[in-house]
């Protein structure tokens, strides 16, 4: 039996990715319309944001530029889930039709094999939009530009991205147990719209829930505080990388458990 380590998976992923991009080029109209759709969603999110600030100049003590930074931060943090994990959206159709079984016949990790199949190029538009917003807010707030701050920004953007990946894994995997659970994904995906607001707006039991159970507060708020309030970083911000890794791991186990438990009667 062959050993398949990280190097193997990285190599395979790169190869599948290149092939996928090549084949995407053959659907040019689709690419243009999808990109346009992506720009529209970002634009719509931005317009909503502007309308809100048009009526209410501050939210929970956060002013316009700090909110804008948080907004940009959340957009960038949501790019990896969009680019690399988009195939989760197809999971329930595959499971329902029985096509999912084909992923179980290869001598590689089922989750990897399934997820590797789709790379979503249009997520890159969101990335550009997010970076632009961060840079603009960064200048307006006047955060110093040092190597250390940039490094922190990258680390904590990466951290923040883990949470949405985990949430979408959890949501997608529900289809192994529950027929017609598609709405869970839809609503989970809409939860991300609340990531761009300071999580100090939540109170009581829901503060705990939205911090630890459905960690919306970690999608942007806590990781971004490392950059926004360097003198007053809460403990939760510092432990967010560890919690993020744990959360992704749990979601992966849940997903794989679904594969094991599923009875493949779809065919």
């Amino acid at each position: 039996m062959h050993k398949r380590g990280l190097g193997f998976y990285a190599r395979i992923y790169r190869k599948i990715l290149i092939q996928d991009l090549k084949s995407k080029m053959s659907y040019r109209a689709d690419f243009i319309i999808s990109t346009f759709g992506m720009i529209m969603t970002n634009l719509s999110g931005f317009i909503t944001f502007m309308i809100l600030f048009h009526n209410f100049p501050t939210i929970n003590g956060w002013d316009y530029y700090h909110m804008l930074f948080l907004y940009g931060f959340s957009l960038v943090a949501l790019t990896p889930v969009q680019c690399f994990f988009d195939n989760n959206w197809n999971l329930r159709f595959m499971v329902q039709s029985g096509d999912f079984i084909k992923y179980c016949f290869r001598p590689v990790n089922v989750f990897f094999y399934f997820i590797s199949e789709v790379f979503d190029v249009k997520g890159l538009g969101q990335l550009a939009f997010g970076i632009g917003t961060i840079v603009y807010a960064w200048i307006k707030i006047g955060i110093p530009v040092t190597f250390l701050v940039i490094l922190k920004l990258l680390v904590f953007l990466l951290t923040a991205s883990l949470f949405m990946i985990a949430l979408m894994n959890f949501a997608a995997a529900t289809c192994f147990w529950i027929k017609g659970s598609g709405y869970v994904m839809v609503i989970m995906f809409r939860f991300k719209d609340f990531a761009k607001y300071p999580s100090s707006i939540f109170q009581g039991i829901f503060k705990v829930i939205f911090t630890f159970v459905i960690p919306i507060a970690f999608i942007a708020y806590y990781p971004s505080l490392v950059i926004l309030t360097p003198d007053n970083v809460p403990l939760l911000s510092w432990i967010s990388p560890l919690y993020g890794i744990l959360f992704v791991y749990l979601s992966y186990r849940f997903w794989m458990l679904g594969v094991r438990k599923y009875d493949f009667t779809g065919s």
Binding site: R4, I12, K15, S23, G98, I101, C104, E117
Partner: protein, 317 residues
């Protein structure tokens, strides 16, 4: 497990598989009731099946729809865990060593292509080569073998989505053999194909089996496949194995049966299955002649199709 000698590709001993399903009620009222119901029932898809498949064999694994064929295959491929019993594939428990098991098997599931939809076949082959970590020599050797068996040039650079059903099936079969697995599972490989394509596919399977000594487990409803490929057949019905022997034996089993074909005045053939032990063929012809004009008469041995039909109907008991 002690009886495993190394010459068996698959060993099944008293394997069972149960599913839990909700008892659904009929009608709109029933649907509302089901919303809160906890009324489950256990369905046994496979009941106490014992079976040994030797290396290099091509066996036909047959049975009516819903008999438990695909559940068995899913257990052999490591996708499903047996509820009870012992199952070894290439000497290992497939469910516990899914990845390892997958290295040694190939699977083709009817019309469900496992190839990358928008990639040319050759690119799919290259990806598979990497996935299975096939060495360069082995890979090239395999492609050479393919060239000698079928004309692969026209499909090699074609994306799978642009292929005809026949070409797609062909590609899927080639892809399943690419890493030279010990066992290949073929589920309805010729479904929906025209006569010449069916012949081509059967020839290919025979060729690959001969060259590589690959064990082939074939499930099909097409008795043409069985006649062309299998020496041995196993029949399963309602989860229970009801026949396991040579295909020739099957014919002698119903050896006294003949298919009588009568050509009517309108040039249509009428068919009758007759057991010579109980009925005389000549009597039937004479009886029929009183009712209609017969233009021609043919008497054939019983076809595999008819035998299987008889067995499904409970004739073997």
């Amino acid at each position: 497990m002690s009886e495993y000698s190394g010459n068996e590709a698959v060993v099944m001993k008293n394997v069972c598989k149960d599913f839990k399903v909700l008892n659904r009620h009929e009608g709109l009222k029933g649907s509302i009731k089901d919303l809160f119901s906890r009324d489950y029932k256990t369905v046994s898809a496979v009941k106490d099946v014992t079976l040994t498949v030797n290396k290099g064999e091509i066996i036909g694994y047959l049975g009516p729809n819903g008999a438990g064929k695909s559940t068995t295959i899913k257990m052999m491929t490591g996708v499903l865990e047996p509820t009870s019993g012992e199952l070894l594939v290439n000497g290992k428990v497939p469910y516990k060593n899914r990845t390892e098991n997958c290295e040694n098997i190939g699977v083709v599931f009817g019309q469900r292509s496992q190839l990358w939809w928008s990639l040319p076949l050759i690119e799919s082959f290259k990806l598979l080569r990497d996935l299975y970590m096939v060495t360069k020599e082995d890979y090239e050797g395999m492609i050479e073998l393919y060239r000698s068996l079928v004309d692969i040039e026209p499909i090699l650079h074609k994306p799978v989505r642009e292929m005809s059903l026949g070409q797609r099936t062909l590609s899927d079969i080639l892809a399943a053999f690419l890493h030279n697995p010990a066992i290949v599972f073929l589920d309805e490989p010729t479904i929906g194909l025209d006569v010449s394509m069916k012949a081509k596919i059967r020839e290919l399977i025979l060729g690959l089996n001969k060259e590589k000594n690959t064990t082939v487990i074939l499930t099909t409803h097409d008795m043409g496949d069985v006649d062309a490929l299998c020496k041995r057949i196993v029949i399963i019905d309602k989860g229970t194995k009801i026949y396991d022997n040579d295909i020739d034996h099957l014919k002698t089993y119903f050896g006294s049966y003949r298919t009588l074909k009568l050509k009517r005045a309108d040039d249509e053939w009428e068919e009758y299955l007759i057991d010579e032990k109980t009925t005389d063929v000549m009597d039937v012809i004479m009886e029929k002649q009183k009712q209609m004009k017969i233009k021609d008469v043919k008497i054939d041995e019983i076809s595999t199709e008819e035998v299987i039909k008889k067995i499904y109907e409970g004739g073997a008991k």
